[in-house]
């Protein structure tokens, strides 16, 4: 469905250093800096896949989405989405895709979302009954029936995002580009948006590409992740596999009924969090059974659980420990 080969994108940015003297100097001579937002990025995405773009701020995720949706021209390399080159902005291509940006909205601010829906129906030249059916279906699924008649400016952030999704999906696109769709939403609203995207993907077979800060979003939604760091593709594959490779360890969290004897904990493994009656140990996956058995035998355990380490931490370690030249690791 999507095919990117050796994508590069370089911006020329005017550098304006602080200070009056520098400002004066830049009147005469502007200094430019080349910023490489993407460098030699290649990947293929099959129809119906849900793929997450991960990476720190400024890694090039948004740039990648914009190139894929045809808003930006790549400096070099090639992209095709379906059978189209996005930058041609062919009508058929535009009917096929959609872009949702968590930070920017297409809803008309002073008018109810229903007006934006009506406008998009006209823009995409959709037959009325078909568009009405889609709209009803999406509105029901997101439970926003009473909202679409209220002026957008009166809606909360989460309500607006739901309406954005309806506006973006009205023409039943087969490729969804979602740029931080859950940004700023509270946890339960994040979960609902996530859920909705998964259901849309499963019922229509649409391809979903998503960027997000929230590791949870990506973990819950995308079986496959593409990690971009400083413009380079550094990982492409399954998130759990990545997690296991970076941190082949488990977390054992224990609650105690009374204070354990000093020294006992350290003998079991590396203690990563500790309060009076609670401790969390990091233990290599292979030794978990043994460690649990030992803990139950030697410590005053009231409750014990075994978990994977948090994804945020893994990503931090992964990106922090990245070699500067950024060789591709694959699963």
């Amino acid at each position: 469905m999507i095919r990117a080969r050796k994508l590069c994108k370089t911006y020329r940015v005017h550098r304006r250093p602080p200070g009056l003297l520098e400002a004066l100097r830049s009147v005469v001579r502007r200094r430019y800096e080349e910023v490489r937002a993407l460098c030699d990025v290649s990947f293929d995405i099959a129809p119906g896949e849900r793929v997450g773009f991960l990476g720190p701020n400024g890694a090039g995720k948004t740039t990648a989405l914009k190139i894929l949706s045809g808003l930006l021209y790549p400096t070099s390399g090639s992209v095709t989405v379906g059978d189209f080159v996005p930058q041609d902005r062919r009508t058929e291509f535009l009917h096929m895709i959609t872009l949702v940006m968590g930070q920017k909205q297409q809803l008309l601010w002073d008018l109810p979302p229903a007006e934006t829906f009506a406008m998009n129906r006209a823009l995409f030249d959709l037959p009325r009954d078909e568009a009405d059916a889609t709209q009803k279906e999406l509105v029901d699924l997101l439970e926003i029936g009473p909202l679409i008649g209220k002026p957008t400016r009166q809606l909360s952030l989460g309500e607006r995002m739901k309406c954005e999704l309806v506006a973006a999906l009205l023409h039943r696109p087969r490729v969804l580009f979602l740029d931080e769709p859950t940004i700023g939403l509270d946890v339960s609203m994040q979960a609902r948006v996530r859920d909705f995207i998964r259901r849309y993907n499963e019922s229509t077979g649409a391809t979903v590409l998503l960027t997000s800060h929230y590791m949870e979003d990506v973990a819950a939604l995308c079986p496959r992740v593409i990690v971009i760091d400083k413009g380079h593709l550094v990982y492409d594959g399954d998130l759990r596999t990545l997690a296991r490779r970076i941190r082949p360890e488990k977390r054992i969290t224990m609650h105690f009924s009374s204070l354990p004897a000093p020294g006992e904990l350290d003998r079991l493994g590396n203690c990563v969090a500790r309060s009076e009656l609670q401790a969390t140990l990091a233990v290599p996956a292979a030794q978990v059974t043994e460690a649990v058995r030992a803990a139950l035998g030697r410590l005053p355990i009231s409750d014990i659980s075994v978990e994977d380490p948090p994804l945020e931490e893994i990503m931090q370690e992964f990106l922090g420990g990245q070699p500067a030249n950024g060789g591709v690791r694959s699963a």
């Binding site: 304006r16 602080p18 200070g19 009056l20 400002a23 004066l24 830049s26 009147v27």
Partner: protein, 277 residues
């Protein structure tokens, strides 16, 4: 400024004086950052040139009142000069800050926002002066004998009049900008002001060419003291004594506007606080 009126004056003044150089520097850097805007804004001041073209065409067949072709050229060049030097963007900045709530952080600083704004706007004056220097040259070569180059008294009045015009316009803009706390359409109000100013300040047509009763009325309104008065004094249409008198009137208008500004600002702050911006 509020505190200044209430008698804690000296400390405030010293504080402002200490902070002012830094504020000016920031203002100047800001000015350079937006130099493209400044140039575009300068180009929007083309009305005096158009009026100059019109009136010189009219005066070809003989002078209009006291105005021959040379007087018209001098008048509109002077108009352009004073307009560019005394102009500021306060009203737009203020309405924007009030509307999108960026005024709030400014209020937290231990210096009156209008002081900070005055520094930002004042910092633009030297650059504006540099940009209009070619105009001064043209003015010198076309109407040098009308300029107060050998009359230190009149020269001093011109400088004072231009400074006064800057302050008066700044205060008027502060008043109208503050209204944004009350009404959505503060900028429309300013539009009306600009329209009235175009006619009653002598910007479009020298006041003495308007019907006499309009010209008389204009002397009792603030508009003339923003543009017409400095220009008339600059190109010698007004005698030194009457210019001195007008300088006093200008000072009165400044004092009045200052009182209105401070009162309105305080009232607006209460409202701003009540609505949380």
């Amino acid at each position: 400024m509020n505190r200044l009126l209430r008698g804690e004056g000296l400390r405030t003044v010293r504080h402002v004086l200490r902070a002012y150089p830094a504020l000016l520097r920031v203002g100047l850097a800001d000015m350079f950052a937006y130099r493209a805007e400044l140039v575009v804004w300068l180009l929007t001041m083309n009305m005096p040139l158009v009026m100059m073209a019109l009136w010189t065409a009219v005066a070809k067949s003989g002078p209009v009142g006291r105005f021959g072709q040379r007087e018209f050229v001098a008048y509109y060049l002077g108009m352009l000069l004073v307009r560019i030097i005394t102009g500021s963007w306060l009203v737009w900045e203020l309405t924007m800050e009030i509307r999108n709530g960026t005024l709030a952080p400014r209020l937290l600083r231990p210096i009156h926002p209008l002081w900070a704004h005055s520094a930002m706007q004042l910092a633009a004056v030297p650059l504006r002066a540099i940009l209009v220097s070619p105009l001064v040259l043209v003015l010198y070569f076309t109407a040098g004998e009308r300029l107060p180059l050998h009359e230190p008294a009149r020269l001093a009045i011109v400088v004072a009049a231009i400074a006064g015009a800057w302050i008066l316009l700044f205060l008027i803009m502060a008043i109208i900008g503050t209204l944004a706390a009350y009404v959505e359409s503060a900028l429309s109000i300013f539009d009306v002001w600009l329209g009235a100013q175009a006619v009653l300040s002598g910007y479009l047509v020298p006041l003495e060419l308007l019907p006499p009763w309009v010209a008389r009325t204009a002397r009792y309104l603030p508009f003339r003291y923003i543009l017409g008065f400095p220009v008339e004094t600059l190109i010698g249409l007004e005698s030194t004594t009457s210019a001195l008198h007008d300088l006093g009137v200008q000072a009165l208008f400044i004092a009045g506007s200052l009182v209105v500004t401070l009162a309105l600002w305080r009232a607006a702050l209460k409202r701003f606080a009540a609505f949380g911006g």
